[in-house]
Amino acid sequence: MNITFGLIGNPNSGKTTLFNQMTGSNQRVGNFPGVTVEKKDGPVRGHKGVTVVDLPGIYSLSPYTAEEVVTRDYLIFEKPDAIINIIDATNIERNLYLTLQLMELNIPIILALNMMDEIRSNGASIDIQKLEEQLGIPVVPISASKNDGVDELTHRAIKCAEHRTKPKSLDFCCGHVHNAIHSIAHLITDEAKAAGLPLRFAATKIVEGDQPVIDRLKLMEPELDIIQHIVDDMEIHLNTDREAAMADMRYAFIETICKECVKKAGQTREHLRSVQIDSVMTHKYFAIPIFLGIMFIIFWLTFGIFGSGLSDLLSMGIDGITQAVDQGLSQVNINPALHSLIINGVFAGVGSVLSFIPIILVLFFFLSLLEDSGYMARVAFVMDKLLRKIGLSGRSFVPMLIGFGCSVPAIMATRTLPSERDRKMTIILTPFMSCSAKLPIYAVFTAAFFTNHEALVMISLYVIGILVGILAGILLKKTIFEGSPVPFVMELPPYRLPSAKSVTLKMWERAADFLKRAFTVIFIATIIIWALQSFDFGFNMVADTENSMLASAGKLVAPIFAPLGFPDWRAATALVTGLTAKEAMVSTFAILLGAADTASVAPLLSQLFAPLSAFSFLTFSLLYMPCVAAMAAVKRELGGWKNAALAMTFQTVVAWIVAFVVYQVGSLIF
């Protein structure tokens, strides 16, 4: 028998930990069709044919966020055989709020009461039997991080699914709300059936004023009138509005249950510890220096020590193999086109994909630590005010900051943002943050044109990137992302020690994901650029790059850059090769200008640029569409090439405009 479980719970309830315990590391990660909300599923260990689907962490089944809509649509239309609802026992009141909504879906449900170890160690207790009676659903105490009770949970969940055990009763409404729900349920029985909606869920959502549900039911005018009357009546009697009445009803029921079943020992040690840690981490004066310090250390370790060390080691290995193969091919006198394809196409492509792996591994190791410990929420709390003007929240701060290192992990890091809108906006804006691969370009140009003002030029580029990011953010907020952003109402979860398992798993997951998705894209792009560079239109191998297809393409697009001050085809060509990797622009200039090596490029650049046009070129390089690796990440996170192409067109147009302004205004001044 095939069984599918939907795993649902609040963020920070230990959902991912439980998912990992149930599946091992054997899981598939993807997006929900049509939306970029993460979807994971995996087979349950030791039970053939049993699958668990990890749904987004949510607090409620409201119709407002993509995550909530995705979850409820999944539950209603895909109908898992049972819901495993994981809740944080130390925060039981708020966690049960979602449970009451899940119970209305007419799907077998089992409650996994997580973090019971913390409850016990604090001398508190929860009466499991009484809780089962009161809620009318099976309850299993577990500790996901210690793998306690997970086997029993799986067994009972399977039983629950096999016997189709539905919640025993749904009598948690009372008084006027009860009357309203039941009257409406009677009224819409047929419509709910026709629309494929669970009756109780539909009735409750109507009372709440849930527009998508009301629309789906296709109710007639007279019914809508009666419903309005019922709701008005309820509102008058309760002296409150429909939404507040429902929230209040659920919390009131939960409070009665908790009073009977939960014996609290007051504040838990873990909670107290959290408050103490926060007295430093979110301190009025220390918070920002501490945050900057932590990020500095992460950058230093990622790009300075581990990442670059591993990258160097890796590229040494690749270079070694490349050289060996190169010599081997020369000895056997292989066709020069094939030789070049293998060395400059295949090996270069593989090398450029692999060069990202160390950075992704190391960076995501640290990011998982920040995320799992609970510190990331504090960063959002501390930095929120800075990002609010551009319509984002503090949560986007860390991904954007990582953009200064490398756009690829930065874009991948947006996946932890809880709102689809924030995620999309952050993905579009992050590439404006000057990534470290652009530094070699800046270095060559400043050495050639700005010898007395190197630091000033470098800093101004970074500042331009940030300013353009802010302006573009405001523009996006006022145009395509208009309307109310997802409210910034965020839980600050207690600090917890991240588990090694979860951190390593996340690290591998990200690296594997990148390899899987980006490999083909980067590989093909490198081969295409190689082919363009090596052949003319008659597909003859060219000795001089000037005769290649790439050069012809460069000559074709060069006029576009004339108003920016660099009409030479070689500049345009470098911008094209820069798409494989930004630092490749330097070596392209070396080839096109006939320099012996990249170190001697600088003096030759004056053939193509004057200081002003050089600066204009730098601004364009800073802002135009990111490299293919980043494109692949953008495509993955935005859920398709169409959105990714739009984002990249936007970035390139912005780059052109800014460089145009720089050059034209500069021409007037100098």
């Binding site: 607090y59 407002y64 925060n91 929230a247 979110t282 709390f381 005010k385 409210p487 910034f488 109402v489």
Partner: protein
């Protein structure tokens, strides 16, 4: 009257008159929610997170840049922006 039993016992009668909004409470100040304003997704989110009438809330902290604020309610920590806190009416509770 429904409220957190930990605090409701010691609540003096006179304090019922100290009506204000959540953003006006000082750090460490406590209040009982009387009404949640706002609309659409924001209001729904506030209610879903347990900011319902008759709930006791404490303002634990203000962020270093002056906004948002950290609240303690229903045994957990929540952060919301000053602007949104201004839509939540409370009756201040003295220590």
């Amino acid at each position: 009257m429904r409220s957190n039993p930990e605090f409701s016992k010691s609540m003096p009668e006179a304090d019922y008159n100290m009506k204000t909004t959540l953003d006006k409470l000082k750090m460490g100040g406590k209040g009982i929610i009387t009404n949640v304003g706002g609309e659409g997704s924001l209001r729904r989110r506030l209610l879903d997170m347990g900011l319902t009438p008759n709930t006791l809330v404490m303002v634990r902290k203000v962020a270093p840049l002056g906004d948002p604020i950290e609240l303690h309610l229903r045994n957990y920590e929540l952060t919301i922006r000053q602007e949104d806190a201004g839509k939540i009416e409370v009756t201040e509770v003295a220590e």
